[in-house]
């Protein structure tokens, strides 16, 4: 018995060491299939990079002053097959409202819903929130298909590949499906609505930093979490451009926790000069800036997001910055698209919304327009003409 015991201990210890060993050298244990190439290459897609790079300079078509109805390089599709009278029921499978960006958009979407209910286009919207779980969202979509009595589906996928089969099932019902924000690997939806994308974000921000920094300068990249395509693409583009321009960039995952952000930046400042800060989302930007203040060094050149906490700190400190946007007003578009589809109007197959960063020149204008909004609000939320403005956003009234 004793020997058996020892053998077991040895085997287990071996397993543990093997496990730890794998983690220290990922190349040895690289997944079997050859589909997973090397790190950081996987998210980079030259064709998509070039497409989004070009889209940045295209003047969008559509109504002036209503960016949520504008589109870039659209290929329109006919929707006359869906044309019908009466108020329709929309079923919305939402990934989550677990971050300020999604919360702001969710509030906007509900205000847009009120307008469309009043105009008689939509009778009601039933929503199931997957709380960031792929499995839950699949079940949500299946529930809608069987029980929802839905006239149309709106889906904001939690992740790209995993949600594809469920979205396909929704399409098979023959009812119109609208996908927005993150995409899926099928084009069965009537329209897929999204801003230009992560590569454009990466190009805008990296070009700004490269223009304002010298070769050999150091940039800290603060990223929220790995594995989410819209975020990974931001970094994939920026990393490539930094590399080409000879900018030294180190990246960290922060979980958007300002405590971690401040610690990371402080550590970097303790090791040497930091000339620039790049972020893949704006929340937590204030903590990064305060780390420079507390260390008593000059402010960096910085890119954040159009989240108000960053915009306000940016103005207050006068640092050299840029606020890229992942157009929050896109949360208005899906319901408007549903209305257009049932009216038989043609909509873009891929509905690319404009995505224009906020620069120092137009910063004051946006800050003035959003006075009284909480720090977690987004400057380009696009709901100024909706009924609840400004109270529902100020009070964060979440249905």
């Amino acid at each position: 018995m004793r020997r058996k015991n020892l053998t077991l201990v040895a085997v287990g210890a071996g397993a543990l060491i093997a496990l730890a060993g794998c983690t220290t050298d990922p190349n040895v244990e690289a997944p079997e299939g050859s589909e997973a190439p090397e790190e950081s290459v996987e998210w980079f897609d030259q064709a998509l990079f070039d497409k989004q790079d070009a889209e940045r300079s295209v003047t969008p078509e559509g109504p002036e002053g209503e960016p949520w109805l504008q589109h870039i390089n659209a290929e329109m599709v006919d929707t006359s097959q869906y044309a019908s009278e009466g108020a329709k029921k929309v079923c919305f499978a939402n990934a989550s409202i677990s971050n300020p960006w999604r919360q702001t958009g969710w509030i906007t979407m509900n205000e847009q819903l009120k307008v469309l209910q009043e105009s008689g286009a939509i009778s009601e919207m039933e929503t199931r929130d997957a709380q960031d779980s792929d499995d839950t969202q699949i079940a949500d979509i299946d529930y809608f298909i069987e029980e929802g009595n839905c006239d149309a589906f709106v889906i904001s996928p939690n992740s790209t590949a995993a949600m594809t089969p469920a979205v396909e099932r929704a399409c098979e019902t023959g009812k119109p499906v609208v996908v927005f924000d993150r995409g899926v690997q099928t084009d069965c939806a009537v329209t897929f609505i999204h801003p230009i994308g992560g590569f454009a974000w990466g190009i805008d921000t990296a070009e700004f930093l490269i223009d304002n920094l010298e070769e050999g300068d150091k940039v800290i990249a603060l990223r929220i979490l790995p594995g989410v395509d819209v975020l990974e693409q931001r970094w994939a583009a920026a990393e490539k451009l930094f590399d080409e321009a000879g900018i030294e960039a180190v990246d960290y995952f922060t979980g958007a926790d300002p405590v971690k952000i401040k610690q990371i930046v402080s550590d970097e400042l303790a090791r040497g000069d930091v000339a620039g800060v790049w972020m893949d989302a704006g929340d937590g930007a204030v903590a990064a800036i305060e780390a420079f203040e507390d260390a008593g060094v000059d402010y960096p050149v910085m890119t954040g997001e159009d989240e108000l906490s960053y915009m306000r700190k940016w103005e207050e400190t006068g640092l050299n910055g840029l606020a890229p946007v992942y157009s929050n007003f896109q949360w208005r578009t899906p319901l408007l698209a549903v209305q257009m589809i049932f009216a038989g109007e043609e909509v873009p197959k891929e509905w690319v919304l404009p995505q224009v960063p906020i620069t120092e020149d137009d910063r004051a204008e946006f800050l003035e327009a959003n006075e009284g909004m909480p720090d977690g609000h987004y400057a380009k939320f696009g709901g100024e003409d909706l009924p609840g403005y400004p109270t529902v956003w100020q009070e964060r009234i979440i249905p």
Binding site: P100, D267, E395
Partner: protein, 379 residues
């Protein structure tokens, strides 16, 4: 205390050295050895870290974690768990941001409210655990979910903004222009005061009672302890420490719903690294604080050693297991040569029940429900 027997027969000149050595390799002292090794490794990689100014900033950074570890120490040593600490930190951070806003005059009333709120959370945790006999793991798990959900529901997820700078000064500022170190952050002073208070408290009869309750609830009860109150007090201390940590963190970094995320596991890990036994009855509060320092030092080392961000979890996992295994193995080795530290029943075989993973309170009640039913309820 764990070394006196072993060193009693040694010659006097070597005695002090031997004693130090024994303390360092004993489970109680191992965390200090680990901490020293980590700090040396950091300084080798980055000599600048040894500057007094950098060291004091390191202590400032650890302060909230160490304070949370002090609170968790009292709960763990009393034989329970507190998984709600992270949520309490988050809740307090958001409360500070939303209730104080930019109005300096509200700082003190809101601070008092936060302390009362923290105490109330601890009271609920403690009473449900002791009076309703729900395992604390479950009570505080429920509290974790409910509190976080309620805070997000109240604020709509996004906080209004950072509280007034005067309130944030506690976590962010300090005594400036001090020679050598430059600045002594308030949070360092608060950590020192709270550590001393915890040491003092642990030596008071009440502090001993907490350990006695964690070691053996029955003997503690028969020796006159009001078990429910002792445990509830531990939970209140825990929630209050999370409140203080929240005040420091909102100063240090500002308001965000992810502040405090994962603090419960960080605190438990720190306490266990400090050689405190999960299940209660054994542990030293200073070692728990040292555990927090060691854990943070580890994070910094991984950073300076340029371990890729994605692999840090794995390294952390290996080191935690190794440290606790070391502590468990040495504890057995030391104890096998002497009588147990706190033996309620002298003469009993000393390794009875030594390695039970004690997680729930109801089995420590005198009714013996488990012992009389063991295994028979399977069907």
């Amino acid at each position: 205390m764990s070394t006196t027997d072993a060193t009693a027969t040694r010659p006097a000149f070597g005695r002090r050295l031997a004693r130090l050595g024994f303390t360092l390799i004993s489970p109680r002292g191992a965390v200090f050895l680990l901490l020293a090794l980590l700090l040396i490794a950091i300084m080798v990689l980055n000599p600048k870290f040894g500057d007094p100014g950098q060291l004091i900033r390191f202590i400032q950074r650890v302060a909230p974690v160490a304070i949370v570890a002090i609170g968790q120490y009292f709960v763990i040593v009393s034989g329970e768990f507190d998984l709600s600490m992270g949520s309490v930190v988050t809740a307090q951070v958001v409360i500070a941001g939303n209730l104080i806003g930019q109005d300096d005059s509200r700082s003190i009333p809101v601070l008092l409210f936060m302390l009362a709120f923290g105490a109330a959370v601890g009271l609920v945790n403690g009473l449900v655990t002791t009076l309703l006999r729900v395992p604390s793991f479950i009570v505080t798990l429920g509290m974790m979910l409910a509190l976080l959900g309620a805070v997000f529901y109240w604020t709509g997820g996004a906080a209004t903004g950072n509280p007034a700078d005067s309130f944030r000064e506690v976590g962010r500022g300090g005594i400036r222009d001090v020679p050598v170190v430059g600045i002594i952050p308030w949070s360092v002073l608060i950590l020192i005061v709270l550590t001393l208070a915890a040491v003092w408290f642990a030596r008071r009869p009440f502090g001993r009672m907490v350990i006695a309750v964690g070691d053996n609830v029955t003997t503690a009860r028969y020796s006159g302890a009001r078990v429910w109150w002792v445990k509830t007090s531990a939970f209140i201390l825990s929630s209050l420490s999370a409140t203080v940590a929240g005040v420091l963190l909102v100063g240090y970094a500002g308001v965000h719903p992810s502040v405090g995320n994962g603090y419960e596991f960080t605190a438990i890990t720190a306490v266990v690294l400090g050689g405190v036994a999960l299940g209660g009855g054994r542990g030293w509060v200073v070692a728990a604080v040292a555990g927090a320092f060691a854990l943070e030092a580890l994070f910094i080392l991984l950073n300076f050693a340029e371990v890729p961000a994605t692999m840090r979890d794995a390294v952390q996992g290996v080191i935690i297991i190794a440290a606790v295994a070391y502590s468990a193995v040495t504890f057995r080795a030391i104890r096998s040569g002497r009588t147990p530290e706190t033996s309620p029943q002298p003469g009993e075989p000393s390794d009875l029940g030594e390695d039970r993973a004690a997680l729930a309170p109801q089995t420590r009640t005198p009714n013996g429900a488990r012992t009389t039913n063991g295994g028979s309820d399977a069907t």
